[in-house]
């Protein structure tokens, strides 16, 4: 499911330049469904904190055991929020022994950024 958003977000032409932006043309019903899901995933304070904690991790990944203590929430609640981020294609994870390790998918964040930018996005000049 997480791959589907990657298609919608910042569709690239043969040069890798982003050609679909919020200010480019009115979105049709099919496009907004997937996009809205990604924005909705970020539209919660707990998930946005989790996203920033994971995306800013110097080592590239973070153990769920290092995320949970930052919140006054149960482990299942944190896991639910992480699942929403994962289903939106914003993060991915892998279980190793007792713990699950999470990492950000920067391509999704960058494509989301390119979608929102009304000025020329950085990706299009690369």
């Amino acid at each position: 499911m997480s791959k589907q958003e990657l298609v919608v977000l910042g569709q690239a032409d043969e040069n890798g330049a982003c050609c679909t932006g919020v200010a480019a043309a009115p979105l049709d019903v099919d496009q907004v469904a997937e996009l809205a899901k990604v924005f909705k995933a970020l539209g919660d304070p707990v998930r946005l904190r989790l996203m920033s904690m994971i995306a800013s991790q110097a080592g590239g990944e973070v153990c769920v055991c290092d995320l949970t203590p930052a919140f006054d929430l149960s482990q299942p609640t944190i896991s639910h929020h992480l699942r929403v981020l994962r289903q939106a294609g914003l993060i991915d994870c892998e279980r190793r022994g007792t713990w699950v390790y999470y990492w950000a998918l920067p391509a999704t964040l960058d494509r989301l950024a390119a979608f929102l930018a009304t000025s020329q996005p950085a990706a299009a000049t690369a």
Copy 2:
């Protein structure tokens, strides 16, 4: 209320460069509250279509009378969604006679884009 997000989104240094991004550092509780509200505003299919219809308007603004026919929704429901976008600082409006006219606030979209971009944002190279 809409001005408050502009402070949080992509805080700029004295050179106007964006210095706060999702991958820069873990966000604190105060930062995420306002940011999550903006993402939540975009996290609805109807609002995302409205946002793209307004942001892509060639003339810069659009009459609510030209937005409503695109949806199978009542005028009060459309007005509610437009109010959420406005309260998030994404659009603004002005009443002229019978109708209300809406326009996008590209600075908010661009700051949101700079916040999400994990690579160097376009704004920082301007």
